[in-house]
Symmetry: C2
């Protein structure tokens, strides 16, 4: 029984065929150009395979409210070619199979809670710190959703006392994403994150912002596990700093599991999203 | 078909018998003394009524994880007589009926989503700004729960530029509760909130902190409705200030319903909690 999965990102689309145990049979990667250029290639890939259903984890913002008229659309994205694009409908028109549709980060959380670092739990938070900062969550077994999907990357943080960088978010300037995503690191220090690996003050500030965000997420959602992925989190040395700062910020107010087991990298690595998409595909059948 | 409800607060217990439509047949109010003094009176009240099941909304922190050994306990509360008190067990031992157990604020959220301001929705956030700040949430129809219950009152906020007050939280000093709960208002200004009704700078600062908290909650949870209750929120003039500041903080980044309908007082007023407790009672039967 095979399923299809799409991880639709701002720079690339990953399409895969596989099963719900994390086995991937075939995978292609396509650049994210315009919908007219990219989507026909995506459809062609899946038409060559016998799949039961498809799961899509998409960049956003997207409309995931099934009762909405624009359910399945990419909505107000800065990538203008994709603004108000009926993504789900375009796929459905050609593929005629059940399709699950959610955010890239919610789908990655689903992958990790089903087969990864949060396996066996009812809840987890999956945060990516990369070109942007986004988070998805599984709450009581379900992908978190309310009026819309979470947009946790833009929460407010307090400034680090040694940080004078103005912030990069076009909406909020110095929100979490504006201060701590990859491009903010690069603009603040004049070098890419990967080149700053040995500069401890970089990771001290980075950890301070991420720890504040985790404190807020913990107090609001109380996830059973927090998974930190994305390019910036390849800097493994930042994990212990984050854990230490989370402990000192929360200051014993809430009871938590040992932080080395609680705040962890994705155990599916870069496959969290595509694995989650295959699981979402199966869920869309019911 | 009658149910029992308990709203267990730090200063008083409200016990009621009623139905799931919000009709209350009888209600008593008891002071929160020690468990030995208070609980027998609570039990006696319910023994005089034929109820199907009981719902409890309790002050906390409490253990709401049904798989835990201390499920149903009040855990590390500063009210030392109640520390590690097996609240649910004490009731069950005498009453022999199904009992639902959750936080006071989660239960109030349940009341409002079932019969109040969020009626017909799948999600809502209920925040009380009183002696402390607490919040409960219904997410996709269920009371929010993860590793533990939410503790949203202690999230971090940025200081208002004109606020030099140090903050009152014993754990975090100037977290939301430390800066914006009733006792913080009183200590900052040297007068009770109710006496400061006409002092606009008081409510400007108060609204700034609450608006920041709402921004964080919106970005993390995306509730379909936000209900603000508790003593401090009796100051109706603070609602428009909060809405204005939420709009300017979020700055168009997420799409929201019109804020006058989105950020509202409880429509069950002071009965949100006890009404929710009766509904929780019914839910505990299944
Ligand atoms: N090893 C690394 N160390 C630090 N920063 C990195 C590393 N790899 C990528 N980044 C940064 O992460 C960002 C890209 O994030 P990534 O998660 O790889 O892609 P995207 O978010 O676009 O899907 C860039 O700003 C890049 O500089
Ligand atoms: N009308 C009011 N205006 C401003 N503040 C009030 C008002 N009524 C109560 N408060 C403040 O709210 C706090 C009590 O909160 P309340 O919600 O009534 O009780 P509790 O939180 O203990 O259940 C006190 O600090 C009190 O000063
Ligand atoms: Zn932002
Ligand atoms: Zn606090």
């Amino acid at each position: 029984m095979y399923y299809g999965g799409i991880e639709a990102g701002g720079t690339k689309f990953v399409c895969a065929v596989g099963d719900v145990h994390g086995n991937i049979l075939e995978r292609v990667q396509l650049p994210t150009l315009t919908p007219e250029e990219t989507i026909p290639k995506v459809i062609e890939f899946f038409q060559h395979h016998k799949i039961q259903a498809l799961g899509v984890g998409s960049f956003g913002p997207i409309d995931i409210n099934v009762k909405s008229d624009t359910y399945g659309y990419i909505t107000s994205t800065p990538k203008t070619a994709w603004t108000n694009y009926p993504f789900l409908q375009a796929l459905q028109m050609e593929l005629h199979i059940p399709i699950g549709f959610n955010t890239d980060v919610n789908v990655a959380a689903l992958g990790e809670v089903t087969l990864g670092a949060a396996k066996g739990l009812e809840s987890c938070l999956y945060i990516t710190v990369g070109t942007g900062i986004g988070a998805g969550a599984v709450v009581q077994g379900n992908l978190l959703q309310g009026y819309s999907h979470p947009e946790m990357g833009h929460i407010l943080v307090r400034r680090h006392e040694n940080d004078t960088y103005i912030g990069k978010c076009p909406y909020h300037k110095d929100c979490l994403e504006g201060l701590a995503a990859g491009p903010a690191i690069e603009e603040r220090w004049g070098k890419k994150g990967v080149e700053l690996a040995h500069d401890s003050k970089v990771w001290e500030i980075e950890a301070y912002y991420i720890a504040q965000a985790l404190m807020q997420y913990i107090l609001v959602l109380s996830p059973e596990k927090i998974i930190l992925g994305g390019g910036v989190m390849k800097q493994q040395q930042v994990f212990p700093l984050i854990r230490e700062k989370v402990a000192s910020l929360i200051n014993g107010y809430v009871d938590l599991p040992p932080l080395e087991e609680y705040i962890v990298p994705p155990s599916l690595g870069d496959n969290a999203g595509i694995t989650g998409a295959l699981i979402l595909a199966k869920q869309s059948e019911v």
